[in-house]
Symmetry: D2
Subunit: 338 residues, 4 copies
């Protein structure tokens, strides 16, 4: 069964959804929708979509459509997704799932009640590099995880509707949720809005865990260069993940420290430090969004739950909400409930 799809929102990300839906044999592009007629027209020129409309109800009501992809501004995710679910459509929503926790909870319960697939596009979870990191951690190659540190900065992609926290940190929260079993107990965030009338454009967020693990994210829309670099430190090995590297996105360093030993050794390195080779595993080249779209289609067909299901989206929104609260009160810790 080919999943027949519609896409609502043809701005920055929507065309990527259209391209992948169109190219996959698991999905069929049936409808596209945007309030901006020029955007509809540009895609109509290139792709064969039977339904082109400015009104999402044309897609909600179409019997030719099984599933809807929502790639509109965050503030509209909730109502569009809710309408889609209530029209009996499976739903794939861009990240973050919603603007607040209450909305996310409601979508999750509605999808469950109606027996429909709800998936959030935490696209990095479907990235071959991130999947490799998860594999390395789960096979205990890294030992005990000590820290996750990410820098995700660039210039010029200001979002009007959400802060840099909701726009960029969501990626790291979704990655941490996927590769680490433990969940944060509290978060601390400092942020600044440097442009008058605009949301925060720079933020530093720390996640506290019950263990000694610490996670930290630096996100910034006003950086002179683009950086997408993550360090994952384990007691046995450590990873540098640079998403901008064309090859060798992941480098695994056979370096670590004996965290139970406190005696210096006599040959230079101290405290059981270990320096060794580095290796860079060959990664699949599959586009993450292709994997995500096909995973969604598979879940729709089989009724299984997506890796990044509504619950996963909800967990992430809960952390984003806590981060925003911390930023508003000057960076003090905000506990995160289960």
């Amino acid at each position: 069964m080919v999943v027949r799809c519609g896409v609502i929102g043809l701005g920055y990300w929507g065309p990527n959804l259209v391209r992948n839906i169109s190219a996959s044999s698991a999905t069929q592009l049936v409808g596209i929708c945007d309030q901006d007629a020029a955007k509809c027209e540009a895609l109509r020129r290139q792709y064969a979509a039977p339904v082109v409309t400015y009104d999402p109800h044309d897609l909600f009501n179409s019997p030719m459509i099984d599933a809807l992809f929502i790639a509109t501004p965050v503030a509209t995710h909730y109502s569009l997704a809710l309408s889609a679910l209530r029209s009996g459509k499976h739903v794939f929503v861009e990240k973050p799932l919603t603007s607040d926790v209450a909305q996310a909870e409601h979508l999750v319960s509605e999808a469950e009640r109606l027996g429909l697939t709800l998936m959030v596009d935490h696209v990095f979870v479907y990235n071959p590099a991130v999947q490799k990191i998860r594999e390395l951690i789960s096979t205990n190659m890294l030992g005990q995880i000590l820290y996750y540190d990410s820098v995700r900065v660039n210039l010029g992609l200001f979002q009007h509707d959400v802060s840099v926290i909701w726009d960029l940190i969501v990626h790291d929260l979704s990655i941490v949720d996927y590769i680490i079993d433990e969940r944060p107990t509290a978060v601390l965030t400092n942020a600044r809005a440097h442009v008058i009338g605009q949301p925060e454009n720079i933020a530093y967020m720390t996640c506290i865990f019950a263990s000694q693990m610490i996670a930290h994210f630096h996100v910034n829309w006003l950086a002179p260069v683009k950086v997408r670099r993550t360090l994952v430190g384990g007691s046995r090995r450590m990873i540098v993940y640079d998403d901008l590297e064309p090859d060798e996105k992941i480098k695994v360093y056979d370096r670590g420290v004996d965290i139970t030993q406190a005696e210096p050794d006599q040959i230079g390195l101290q405290f059981g430090y270990r320096l060794g080779d580095m290796f860079a595993p060959m990664l699949r080249r599959t586009e993450a969004l292709k994997t995500a779209v096909e995973h969604f289609a598979e879940c729709v067909r089989t009724g299984t739950s997506p890796i990044t299901d509504g619950q996963c989206g909800l967990r992430t929104v809960r952390l984003l909400e806590a981060a925003s609260r911390s930023a508003q009160n000057g960076g003090s810790a905000v506990a995160v409930g289960a």
Copy 2:
């Protein structure tokens, strides 16, 4: 007048002092001192030092010595520097100046009372790249400074006596003190000690200013790779400073944002964003420590105050103390007095 010098402490940094003192025509190496006879012997082989001793008093009491360089563990800075001053010697102390604020205040007042030069080796202040950044800021090339962000991580140089905060963040605090006119009003720090029985090995510190400026430092002794990378964001231009680049340590990006404008433009970039050329100014190749040593000799000769004088060292110790306190109380803000 050549300044006749003695060096106390021949561990990691001391030999660099000995080499520079020995090579400069402004200074003369008279004595070296370390409790470890092997370290004395290794340097005696290479350099012509008339006095080689395990006892600092031999240097305090030597009439052949004008100035002492102290490169011992931090906990000993105070008492050695105090003895040196009271012996009538000018003093050059490794960073950080002391272990706490009270000690630093006392050294400052003693040096002043005795009319002797007290300088702290905030060596990055004498780095050609940092001096170029200060020049670019002071000539308003960058516009209003929005943020200072630094990553200073590596593997394997654990210090026994101090945490990563006192070992590495001191560099960034001294740079910010030098290039920015404004002083922090509060600091927040999260840190973790992953090795049992050892001090903190990873820390994230945020400095709050009265303006919208924000400064953030990531320091880490347990990283798989060495990184020394600083972003300085201004409203007119932005800098990437990578101290590990052999050439092109500083890249100035003609990129910025109109921080008073909130209207999107119609051609892609939003809110007055501006993307432009990058340029990398040619830098002098002088070793920073050479400049520092010669600046100290000049101050001793002329009686002028060093750029990184005792007051400067004190300001930095005050921030380090506040950072440690914040780390101990889980990252909440600690105000910094004048």
Copy 3:
């Protein structure tokens, strides 16, 4: 007038042509053709092409088509282009134009006789970085050009039908033809075929000019990494062009040498060497192939001659033929006629 287009050959490059023809408002995709039905089908799924066929004659004979794009193996360029021209179609041919000089000469004369546009897809000529280099040279920013040095290596894109000379060096010859006014007088090439039964996979080619200019190309299909790096040395300034850099593809170094001065100076650099700043001009982001396709459409509409017209393609084939001859005789110089 929109130029109505057909594409013959849907292998590696053909789909890029189809995508750009389809996306541009200057061109309209009318027909696609490949002997492999699966390739036709894959593109039919995504793009709306009225004519899909395995037989190029269907496109030659279609009155709905103004121009044909030929992206088939090199050995077939000549006969397909000739048939297309004789069917009255304008022709856009992948590089290199033909397999030998005689074929290229014939295509040029036929296109001229029939008054049709013949363009060869020397795609790097339409690359914003290469266009910027030409601008810098033509405004004398670089001074006298001393050398052009290019490395173009990677693993795994062996061509069955042509050697690495005809596959990769063609790019550099087309760039040199575009940015430098002078033409080579002789070429020398060393090459090796390391895989039994296959064409040369590594080659080093030197171009000699009447001036002291020298050009050299290293191409290699058996390299472990991908490199696309060109140095252009001028007496006043020098360029590093790295086509794999996402930003800053071109770096202009304010470095040079006074080529008429032979006296050493006294301050370190010798013979009028000059070290100065580097700058990286902001480049347009336009895809080169988009520019090429639209330039072709413009030439078809207006009857003007393309930048990379048949004569340009012929000049390049002449050099490729000489290079192959040099490689066959062990690397000795082969003169290149006008």
Copy 4:
């Protein structure tokens, strides 16, 4: 037995010899010599050398000296080394050994006749990265060696006395001599002298072997940036060696090609191409010159022949002479005798 050493020539490289001789317990610095009194004085300030002189005969005649290091301009190597040998001193000569083959042959025979150690400072042979490459080749990790390709370019170190061929290509010839068992049968070189009255500043040299191996070197004194990058291609694995990388100088790619197979496979890669992981072996951090100096001292003590003995220096001079001859006759092949 500590080898008592003298150094003749204190220009660019001499001070590095002095530093290493001075620091090692296998050697003792007894004398230094340069016609330039300022250079003598600068080193006398730092190092304890009993004999400081402008006249090499003071060192030839000193009974306190066992071995002489010659770091003077190339044209003087022969006569100084010859005098040193005839004075009964062991000799360590900077690269290249001499200015021509006849001189090198004479030095080799004299050293043999007198039973003295003659070593040429092919310093890269003692570099941990090069030693690791030799190890990887000799244990057949790379399979059959297909090519060696090196780029060694920078700005501003023009030599007055020799061309870029004798200054820089000598490094690659010495590395190839060390890591590859086969010897070149012919060489081809193109070079240009862009500064009037100066030697060649850019050269491209190809080495032909009886097997299908090919070696190629690009050296350039007029490049805007410094590059030290070598590719070694094997049928089983390939190496990228970047000498400017602080860590990870060597990357070994598990990539290759089945050179006996000519059938394309069906899954994208052709002709038995193989893409796999990369690994970067941890390397020792020892300075190459330290290893070279201590190897020389060991050979002097034990009477064993150095790895880079006179014969090795002679082989390299023979290739340099052939390269210069090829450059003079426009790049045509010059056979290399045994």
